[in-house]
Amino acid sequence: MPDEPVRYLAGIRVLDFTFQAAGAYAAMLLGSLGAQVIKVESASRPDPTRQRVNRPYIHSVFYEDVNLDKQAITINMKSPEGQELAKRLAGASHVVADCYRPGVMQKWGMGHADLRERYPHLVTASLTAAGQDGPYARLPGYAGIFNALSGAGNLTGYPDGPPTEFRTSMDMRAGALFAMAIAQGLLHAKRTGQGRSIDFSASEAGSTSVGDSIVEASVEGSDPGRRGNRDPRFAPSGVFACRDGWLALAVRSDEQWRQLVARLEQDGRPRPEGLETASARLADRDAAEAYVAAALESLDRAGAFELLSACGVPAGPVMDGGDLVADEHLAARGLFVRTPVTTSDTTRLVTSAPWVIDGRRPQPRPAPDLGAHTDAVLASVLGMSDSEIDALRTSGALS
């Protein structure tokens, strides 16, 4: 896939006050679609993920994972000059996104109402743990907090075990939905000429990810409890041991079961009796699952995946980071690519955008160094001269 795909958001400018995982992932997705994303930090308050230095690089691995396709500038938001500069940049942008706790952007005169009054065309978007207002507005939040409040953690787990800690992925789920919400705001602005204020709750995003389960449970009026890996609609279903790890599967139809049994019979495995129908398998799911478990334990995951797929049975090996990087399908589709590390002569594996447009996948640009584009952005976006930029720097507004 050598050619770049169409950049849908070319010409869109995002002034990006997000940091950590959720907001940064959202802004990166917009950058992957072609938007100019200008990440605003300061020397005293860089994105905290930069400082997760677990290798001899300035950039942490995680920082690079969620800050591709951006430019980085530094503005001292404690200075009046810095705040005014940020407002000028906002006026020249289509989106201002942030993930500060409620009150921080307002303190700088950059809350939703402030910006929309000054620049009605803007899409202003804030991501917080629980929203800008309401009884939980002061709650500081991370992925684990969103997960707990959302109900997602309580729904997943062993039947007699505790709830489950979804961690970084809950940030990223919120980030993907946040990016979508911003895009919807941009579409609205394009069609009406009016911006939009998006007050996004990461906890509600967690609930959205299990919306189907919440709806199911709400019919019954009580919490359904945790049920492990079994899908109550399908038997056999769950996670089964293979020779080299685990594999998930679900037999969804009698035809899939028939094909699977016929295939295993060719290998000498006796045909199980009385399990031909879905209702029979659900009634005696222990027997159906014991039959599958016995067949899989001598296979490796790749072989089992192929066998089950050939029978039409949905299946998937349980994979870790190493498995994903080595996978032939993802390699063929170019999901992972290497980008240069700016501070060394090495390269690093990163994950490209999770879409292919017209057969081509976007090639990410490396995550920027702190303030790497300050001068270039001020010159190109605001038309500032070198002397004007120097004056700002001397005043401390760019530190």
Binding site: R55, V61, A130, G134, Y136, L139, P140, G141, G144, I145, S150, A152, L155, T156, G157, Y158, G161, P162, P163, T164, F166, T168, A179, M180, Q184, L187, H188, K190, R191, I198, S201, A202, T208, G211, D212, V215, E216, A217, S218, S222, G228, N229, A248, P314, G316, V318, D320, G321, D323, L324, V325, H329, A332, R333, R348, L349, P354, W355, V356, G359
Partner: protein
């Protein structure tokens, strides 16, 4: 509300069933779009028959398809391609899943030049060695790198010999819908004809766990449930359930100590730094468990909000539905035709000003005549 400059709503043609594609349509419907859902006759979306409550009605179908119009197409009749082409030419955006790609007339239009932007949502993408293989939300989730990390912490301590965990319900399918809706919306912003957005559900979910790939590449580290635990805090049992305690900064630790009533143990000099607390995580965890065990979820949460500490109760579904914060923000709305076997409240989208109250989900083929046979405004 997403409206065209001429006053018309964005027109979305949904050729999809079960969760991912319909959730994309749901996002657009909640944003004000006119969403026409094509269902294959005679049975329609299999989700209609899914019956978690044993009531004969599908609450999840209702949730995913509220506010849409339904057109039934019988793919065995000669007129089906013509019907499809009429709907296709009406649409600003088409969303297609693997079930509908299996119908040759659909595939032909996806592969044709020009026309509205098309977003395909399939398990593994349109191309590649696994393209066409079947999957469920759970099998995609398992492949995407998170199952191997679940459960970490207390869950793994208690059940080290059980298989790793799948997420409940259709989490991965729903996650993929976020990405598909994002790229679809971007295509509408851009305009232009003939673009095909290939969204693989597996890649969308793996993208959420991207750090495990880069960490493996960087250091050879393979994160798993055995290694996935907070040094202290995390999932913690209390008097009536569980709470999450996630202390990330020095100021949060200080506030947490105040929240616990300034116990003497917390002033141990070794605990003055994050590094010191991490090293002593086991003993700090013991103290926290002893403290939390004497309090209920509501008390701990109220203390957390008062002191600005990241703690939260693990909520059961009825508690989520009753959440004062969610309800004040209008996250849940009343179901327009709630009855036996139907949910009373439905989630909207996780941002204020997002939710458009939606009418009930359509009957199978309820709008076929209006859109295809009569003078329905949409297809005329």
């Amino acid at each position: 509300m997403a409206e065209q400059s001429n006053g018309g709503a964005v027109r979305v043609l949904e050729l999809a069933q079960e969760v991912t594609g319909p959730f994309v349509g749901r996002i657009f419907a909640l944003s004000g779009a006119d969403v026409v859902k094509v269902e294959s006759l005679p049975d329609g979306d299999p989700m209609r028959a899914q019956d978690p409550a044993g009531s004969g009605a599908s609450a999840v179908y209702e949730y995913l398809n509220a506010g849409k119009r339904s057109v039934g197409i019988d793919w065995t009749v000669a007129d089906a391609p013509t019907q499809l082409e009429r709907l296709w030419s009406w649409a600003d955006l088409v969303v297609v899943d693997d079930a509908f790609l299996a119908h040759p007339p659909v595939r032909r239009l996806v592969d044709s030049e020009g026309g509205p932007p098309v977003t395909t949502v399939t398990p593994f993408g349109l191309e590649g060695p696994y393209a066409g293989r079947p999957a469920t939300s759970s099998t995609v989730f398992a492949m995407a790198g998170e199952t191997i990390m679940l459960p970490g912490g207390l869950g793994y301590e208690l059940f080290p010999d059980e298989p790793p965990l799948l997420a409940r319900g259709a989490m991965a399918d729903t996650d993929a819908a976020s990405i598909a809706a994002l790229v679809s919306t971007a295509a509408l912003i851009h305009g232009g004809e003939g673009h095909v957005n290939d969204v693989a559900r597996w890649e969308a979910e793996a993208s959420l766990n991207r750090w495990i790939a880069s960490h493996f590449d960087d250091s050879g580290w393979r994160e798993s449930r055995a290694t996935r635990a907070y040094s202290y805090g995390g999932l913690t049992a209390c008097a009536d359930g569980y709470v999450m305690i996630q202390i990330a900064t020095e100021s949060q630790w200080e506030a947490f100590v105040r929240m616990m009533g300034e116990p003497d143990w917390a002033r141990h000099p070794d605990y003055d730094t994050q590094a010191g607390r991490t090293a002593a995580g086991g003993e700090i965890g013991e103290h926290i468990r002893a403290w939390a065990g004497g309090l209920d979820k509501a008390t701990i949460f109220a203390l957390g909000i008062e002191h600005g500490v990241p703690v939260a109760p693990f909520r059961e579904v009825p508690e989520v539905l009753a959440c004062p914060q969610f309800n004040e923000r209008g996250f849940f709305v009343d179901h327009p035709s709630a009855g036996p076997g139907q949910p009373q409240r439905l989630p909207t989208l996780p941002y204020v000003d997002a939710g458009t109250p939606l009418p009930a989900a359509p009957g199978l083929g309820e709008h076929t005549h209006a859109l295809l046979d009569g003078r329905g405004s949409a297809a005329s």
